[in-house]
């Protein structure tokens, strides 16, 4: 009889004898993984949305008066003195009027009585894509607002700030649910293994006396922990996939959700979540063995 055959048989016997507590642990691990993976999925998708919004980010600097070529060169130099940017575009009063008129479409006749220079001239600054954090955008905006001849700087502050704080809140939830996953997995698995060990004290004692090696006694418990992690996390991820698929079908077509493209985890992320769960459950099992299995 090989070592692994003996160990697998022992693990199978343990699982058969203690299946109610094993099932409860499996359920807890699945739920923890499901909760964590759900928030992580939402967070990931929000980051994608944020990236997309970041691609369209531009700061509009409204100027007191139309800048001449020399002033344009000066402003350009000043802007570039703060940071590299993707693009700087000068919009004259007439260009602004034209744009506005185009945006109004069929209602452009409301501008008929207005002079063509009633809108202020502006500079559109498209920052580099690496300008990601809110504070960086704010700093840049503050700098631009202090340039001579600037009336106001606009970049959709309110919306961007709200979105930024929302993703920050999500990241906190992801961290908390990650912590919850760690605690519940380690605690529940270690508790189940502890119960099994206490329930089989006489057998473990006998195994020791008839010459079972430490590995022979310990490996089945470690295997149980690994199985709990593997099956529990796979069940959790599969449930989330089912939920994701259902939401996709249910909310397909025009609607708020169709603005954004939601995606499920990459296979690597799924493998990583499962691997981490397995490690956590193995840690729970190992800690119980260290405490209660005196060999």
């Amino acid at each position: 009889m090989s070592f692994w055959f003996a160990v697998l048989r022992q693990a199978g016997r343990n699982l058969r004898q203690t299946w109610p507590s094993q099932f409860m642990t499996l359920l807890t691990v699945s739920l923890s993984v499901l909760i964590f993976a759900f928030f992580f999925l939402v967070y990931n998708n929000m980051l994608n949305v944020g990236d997309k919004l970041g691609d369209d980010l531009r700061l509009i600097v409204y100027l007191e008066e139309e800048p001449g070529p020399e002033m344009q060169a000066q402003l350009k130099r000043k802007i570039l003195a703060f940071d590299e940017v993707d693009e700087i575009r000068f919009i004259s009063k007439t260009d602004a009027y034209q744009r506005f008129s185009e945006q109004l479409g069929e209602n452009r006749d409301v501008l008929d009585d207005m002079p063509q220079d009633f809108l202020p001239a502006s500079v559109e600054v498209v920052p580099l894509k690496n300008l990601s954090s809110l504070s960086q955008v704010k700093n840049f905006s503050d700098y631009l607002s202090k340039l001579p001849g600037t009336i106001k700087v606009q970049y959709g502050q309110d919306w961007i700030e709200r979105f930024y704080y929302f993703t920050r809140l999500l990241s906190i939830i992801v961290l908390l649910s990650g912590g919850l996953l760690i605690l519940t997995s380690v605690f529940m698995v270690s508790y189940t293994i502890r119960l099994t060990i206490l329930g089989r004290q006489a057998e473990l004692e006998l195994l020791k006396l008839v010459g079972a090696t430490n590995n022979y006694i310990r490996t089945p418990f470690l295997l149980e922990g690994l199985l709990q992690g593997l099956i529990g996390s796979t069940a959790g991820i599969l449930s989330l996939y089912g939920l994701f698929h259902w939401v996709e079908l249910k909310f397909a077509g025009p609607g708020i959700l169709s603005i954004f493209e939601f995606t499920f985890f990459h296979p690597q992320t799924v493998v990583t979540i499962i691997a981490i769960s397995i490690v956590l459950c193995a840690v729970g099992s190992y800690s119980s063995m260290q405490k209660f299995l005196r060999i």
Partner: protein, 233 residues
């Protein structure tokens, strides 16, 4: 445990003392040598220290003082994998049997062979043979919790000898048995001894050592006394 100690000695005890707290002396300066392949009877009244001596020999207890060597190794210094290997070669039939009462007779006997990774077919055959020799064939699949004390005692003995150990320690092997079954048990132990195993039997059953030609020593108040020198066969 492939070999043995100096000059073919299986067990060497030198000035071994065992004191249980607070101050109960179970063994006092016990010195004893048992040669490989010997059958040795340890007799004495209940509470004389027989079980303690056996427990010291299989490393279930540690001595308060003195040296114990089994097959040339200080058994209380051997640890981990080496201790497990040594224990695989020591078969012990405990006075309290230490059976898994929710498992069948066959499973209980097989356990000592499973830990040394014997092949399943071999285990099956050995279990069948042993149960036949101890008149337990009909109990093969019976849960040991449902057996009588005498039957449990024989299962414990079968488990002790199943892995063909080189040292067999037996504590009161016939305490719950009738004369016929006692005979069967002694036949099995003699068979093991004839095939090279060292057998130590702790007993107060006069009938099993009365006519023996093997060495007998008596424990009295924790001290060892020679009753009869063994005869070379």
């Amino acid at each position: 445990m492939t070999g043995h100690g100096e000059n073919g000695t299986m067990i060497e005890m030198i000035k071994v003392t065992k004191t249980y707290p607070p101050d109960v002396k179970a063994l006092s300066d016990v010195s004893l040598s048992i040669t490989t392949g010997e059958m040795f009877f340890l007799i004495g009244m209940s509470g004389a220290g027989k079980t303690t001596l056996l427990k010291l020999l299989c490393n279930m207890e540690t001595p308060s003082n003195g040296l114990i060597e089994v097959a040339g190794k200080d058994i209380h210094r051997v640890k981990g994998r080496h201790l497990a290997r040594l224990r695989q070669k020591i078969g012990v039939a405990y006075q309290d049997f230490k059976l898994l009462t929710d498992r069948t007779v066959a499973e209980n006997v097989a356990i000592s062979m499973e830990v040394s990774y014997k092949k399943p077919q071999l285990i099956k055959k050995r279990v069948k043979d042993l149960l036949e020799q101890l008149a337990l064939s009909d109990k093969h699949n019976t849960v040991t919790g449902e057996l009588s004390r005498g039957e449990q005692q024989r299962v414990a003995l079968a488990r002790a000898v199943a892995n063909s150990p080189t040292l067999i320690l037996v504590d009161e092997p016939t305490g719950n048995l009738d004369a016929g079954t006692t005979e069967k048990v002694m036949q099995l132990l003699t068979k093991c001894n004839n095939s090279g195993a060292t057998v130590v039997i702790a007993t107060h059953d006069h009938s099993i050592y009365r006519n023996t030609h093997h060495r007998i020593m008596e424990l009295r108040y924790g001290k060892l006394h020679l009753v009869r020198e063994g005869m070379v066969s």
